[in-house]
């Protein structure tokens, strides 16, 4: 059996969407089997309406390139501004976009598993998700897969 990588993506901000997709596409390029389980806010990474427009949180984020006091970060428009800054930085450095990484993962055979339970809790339907996703599944399916994985990550 090929070496296996099992990843849980639990966050829906732009900065937290990159690591699971970068690691999964790289693992697949290295001939490893890989699955990403998208749960809670991580579902936004495979949400048709949201995945191309994920945001950076300027509040409670001391690592902003230009430090923003939380009081200022709360103001209307600050999230959009912080997100645009991050996207511009990424583009300048030649980092792929989230949709480009999803395509790479899909083409390389990475399994993209939406969490069945959180879809229900958050009122998300199968048709709200991008067509690249695999059928939704539960914790037991992920754990059964992860039991055989050499690398398992919660992001």
């Amino acid at each position: 059996m090929a070496d296996r990588v099992a990843i849980i993506a639990s966050k829906g901000t732009l900065d937290m969407a990159y690591p699971p997709l970068i690691l999964a596409s790289t693992a697949a390029a290295m001939d490893m089997e890989c699955a990403i389980f998208f749960t809670f806010y991580g579902l936004d990474i495979v949400n048709k309406k949201k995945y191309a427009n994920l945001k950076v949180a300027p509040v409670g984020n001391p690592a902003m390139p230009v430090p923003v006091p939380n009081m200022i970060g709360m103001l209307p428009g600050m999230t959009a501004m912080a997100s645009k800054m991050m996207k511009d930085m990424m583009k300048k450095s030649g980092v792929p976009t989230i949709p480009e990484l999803i395509t790479a993962c899909h083409e390389l055979g990475v399994k993209l598993w939406p969490c069945e339970m959180t879809l229900g809790v958050m009122g998300i339907n199968a048709e709200d998700l991008i067509p690249e996703v695999d059928p939704s599944c539960g914790a037991a399916t992920f754990l059964e897969y992860a039991m055989e994985a050499k690398v398992s990550l919660f992001i």
């Binding site: 596409s25 790289t26 697949a28 390029a29 290295m30 490893m32 450095s93 030649g94 792929p96 990484l101």
Partner: protein, 82 residues
């Protein structure tokens, strides 16, 4: 220039301007398109590739046959193993 300068490539992949993980992702796809024993030359500008290309080649079952640096441009030669 480095040790790879004299190696003849059967195929050349240009990933200049791209950064992690795209050089490795594109190298995998380019490797799928050539025959076992043929050599792929990857030309890029991502400094991270200096470590990533040998690691990728090893894991994916290929032979890393050489590398060279030409200013900000890096060349890697990888022989398809399987």
């Amino acid at each position: 220039m480095g040790e790879g300068a004299d190696i003849k490539a059967d195929s050349i992949l240009d990933v200049k301007g791209l950064c992690c993980p795209m050089p490795v992702v594109k190298a995998k796809k380019a490797m799928d398109a050539i025959e076992i024993g043929q050599v792929l030359e990857i030309v890029g500008t991502d400094p991270g590739s200096k470590g990533d290309m040998p690691a990728w080649a090893k894991r994916a079952g290929h032979e890393f046959v050489g590398a060279s640096e030409d200013g900000e441009v890096f060349h890697f030669w990888v022989k398809k193993g399987k």
